[in-house]
């Protein structure tokens, strides 16, 4: 149907970089053995050495030491380990209260809800109209019974970056653990655990052109956490299961390939897209903060039209994006993030998320803006909404 496709859903998954695949290849065909101890056989020792090297790269990227980085199957697992592992470890020792923000991504949100069903008390912190957690309210919510605060580094949909430094200071002062889901900020927005008082950090390879099914959890030394996945003694006896060595190697290579220049380029695309959309498409609003947002993320609501219709039309133009509309989701529910920042259902249903990656260009922005302007105009013509709010001036 279309000769060139434009992929703008890089928050969901990214195209693998060939150089990552090349780095991984030998660990499928040559050094495929299990990582053995230093008393094992040669191929196993090599596998372990390579795993340790990859771990070093990942730990270094977060300002951690290798012993502080555990490989997992992705950010869902990492956040599950963080919340449930801390809950299990501290229930009898300290308490049963957990604090999360209302706009966390599902791994954190649903882990918190699962713990709630097991008898833990969970506070869901409201956020303001741009998605920021209120620091005073956070401070006031922490009690002697609180064991963990889990607040994301940046939001998966609207891109708002939280002040993790300040959140870390509050948690340190109140002596509670702090977990942050950094799935979308990793390698794009700096996070150094030597500078930020964060105890647990969730990261993933799938957002930085690495392989799917590989992620990690950075656990500050001394953090009390129970083993959640039982089995062997892998990953410092914290996460059992045969190590995914090609995955770990690919993750490390993906980290090495991200540059600040590239991130700057993504930010330029983001800014061009936001600027043009808001200027050229009437009745469109930006969701999230204008500058304290992920460099690769734009999220815009087009009033009076529904997101699934927009995404389907865009798909026919070869453009892939996602929407906060209920019709797009597997639960048929509108985005909890847009509702969480005080938006109504219509704002959620008409919201479109654009996320950029390595393989996008400024040209993609132009094509997308042009296609969207037409699509939104056509859909508004058939919409019963907004007739009284000056919609006629668009036609």
């Amino acid at each position: 149907m279309v000769d060139k496709s434009i992929y703008l859903d890089n928050a969901a998954a990214t195209r693998l970089d060939e150089r990552v695949l090349e780095a991984m290849r030998p660990y499928f065909f040559d050094t495929y053995a299990v990582a053995t101890s230093e008393f094992g056989y040669s191929q196993g020792i090599q596998a372990r050495e390579r795993l340790d090297e990859a771990r070093g790269v990942l730990a270094n990227a977060l300002g951690a030491v290798p012993e502080e980085f555990v490989f997992t199957s992705g950010s869902t697992e990492s956040s599950n380990i963080a919340l449930k592992g801390v809950a299990l470890a501290l229930l009898k020792k300290k308490g049963s209260h957990i604090i999360v923000s209302r706009i966390e991504d599902f791994p954190v949100l649903h882990s918190a809800q699962a713990l709630e069903r097991q008898g833990f008390r969970v506070t869901y912190l409201d956020v303001d109209g741009e998605g920021f957690v209120d620091l005073d309210r956070l401070r006031d919510s922490i009690t002697g019974n609180t064991i963990l605060v889990s607040i994301q580094h940046a939001n998966q949909e609207i891109g708002t970056i939280q002040d993790v430094e300040a959140i870390g200071r509050i948690c340190r002062e109140k002596e509670v653990l702090f977990h942050t889901d950094a799935t979308h900020t990793f390698m794009r927005v700096p996070l150094d655990i030597k500078k930020v008082a964060v105890d647990l950090v969730t990261v993933s390879a799938h957002t930085i052109h690495g392989p799917k099914g590989v992620g990690g959890l950075c656990i500050r030394q001394g953090t009390q956490i129970a083993k959640w996945m039982d089995g062997g003694f892998q990953e410092f006896n914290l996460r059992a299961g045969l190590e995914n060595i090609p995955g770990a190697v690919g993750f490390a290579r993906a980290v090495e390939l991200v540059t600040p220049e590239e991130t700057k380029r993504l930010q330029q695309m983001r800014d061009l897209l936001i600027g043009r959309m808001l200027a050229e498409i009437p009745h469109s609003i930006l969701n999230g903060h204008r500058s304290k947002r992920l460099p690769q993320n734009a999220n815009i609501t087009f009033h009076y039209v529904e997101g699934e219709s927009i995404t389907l039309h865009l798909d026919m133009h070869g453009i892939a994006v996602s929407t906060g509309s209920a019709c797009f989701s597997r639960s048929l529910e509108a985005s909890h993030v847009i509702l969480g920042i005080g938006g109504d259902h219509e704002r959620a249903h008409g919201s479109i998320r654009f996320t950029f990656g390595r393989y996008n260009s400024m040209e993609d922005v132009d094509t997308t803006v042009q296609a969207l302007a037409e699509i939104v105009q056509e859909l508004r013509k058939i919409s019963p909404l907004g007739k009284d709010s000056g919609k006629e001036d668009l036609q």
């Binding site: 529904e306 219709s309 509309s325 259902h345 058939i382 909404l385």
Partner: protein
């Protein structure tokens, strides 16, 4: 090759919807759904009073592809039919005319079918063609709930035995749904039940409960 969840006919109607817009001075009109449920459709009809047939039908849609395509096909199907014939057009007929709709999208597309029925009802009310108001009973509620779709199956919640109990007492309707409260579709079903029952003329309050 991509397999779209939509048939070619659905895509065709989505891209080029028929009968779009308002009818000024419509003889009957109705809006179903709301921005809150994610889909909304308005249907307008012109009626030839001599033959009681629908001479023109138009629609407006705020909704997904299924909603737009169903609005398009239902207005096509309605034109030229008598009011009684048009009233009996079912979701299944609309869906068949579109070459089938995905089950999970039934709740978005059923709105246009209901919109046509409500527009006809609106015409009948305005022209003194309706009987007395019927008081709400368990059976009336059950009939209404046949319009709430179970997204798991694409069939209505009564037929799929999700409605475990209905109570009607002094204008308070309680509906018990056989799903855990934290089920993926619990909220969607709750909202749709409320939407269908709250509008009954003698209902003051609706409570939707879940078995777990």
């Amino acid at each position: 090759m991509t397999t779209f969840p939509y048939s070619d006919i659905v895509l065709e109607h989505f891209r080029h919807p028929r009968n779009v817009g308002k009818i000024e001075n419509a003889d009957g009109k109705a809006t179903e759904g709301s921005p809150a449920c994610g889909d909304m459709v308005s249907v307008y009809i012109k009626v030839d009073p001599k033959t009681n047939t629908i001479s023109d039908a138009k629609f407006e849609s705020y909704g997904c592809a299924s909603n737009i395509a169903t609005g398009s096909i239902i207005t096509e199907l309605a034109k030229g039919k008598t009011l009684d014939e048009a009233k009996n057009i079912t979701w299944k007929e609309a869906s068949d005319a579109l070459g089938g709709l995905p089950k999970i999208k039934a709740h978005c597309s059923v709105l246009a079918v209901e919109g046509l029925r409500s527009a006809i009802q609106n015409y009948e009310e305005r022209h003194g063609l309706v009987k007395e108001k019927v008081p709400t009973t368990v059976e009336v509620v059950r009939q209404r709930l046949r319009r709430v779709v179970n997204p798991l199956t694409g069939l209505n919640v009564v037929r799929t035995n999700l409605v475990q109990d209905i109570e009607v007492e002094d204008g308070v309707v309680t509906v018990l749904i056989d799903l855990p409260e934290d089920h993926q579709f619990a909220n969607t079903i709750r909202e749709e039940v409320l939407e269908k029952i709250e509008t009954l003329w003698d209902v003051k309050e609706v409570a939707v409960k879940f078995t777990e």
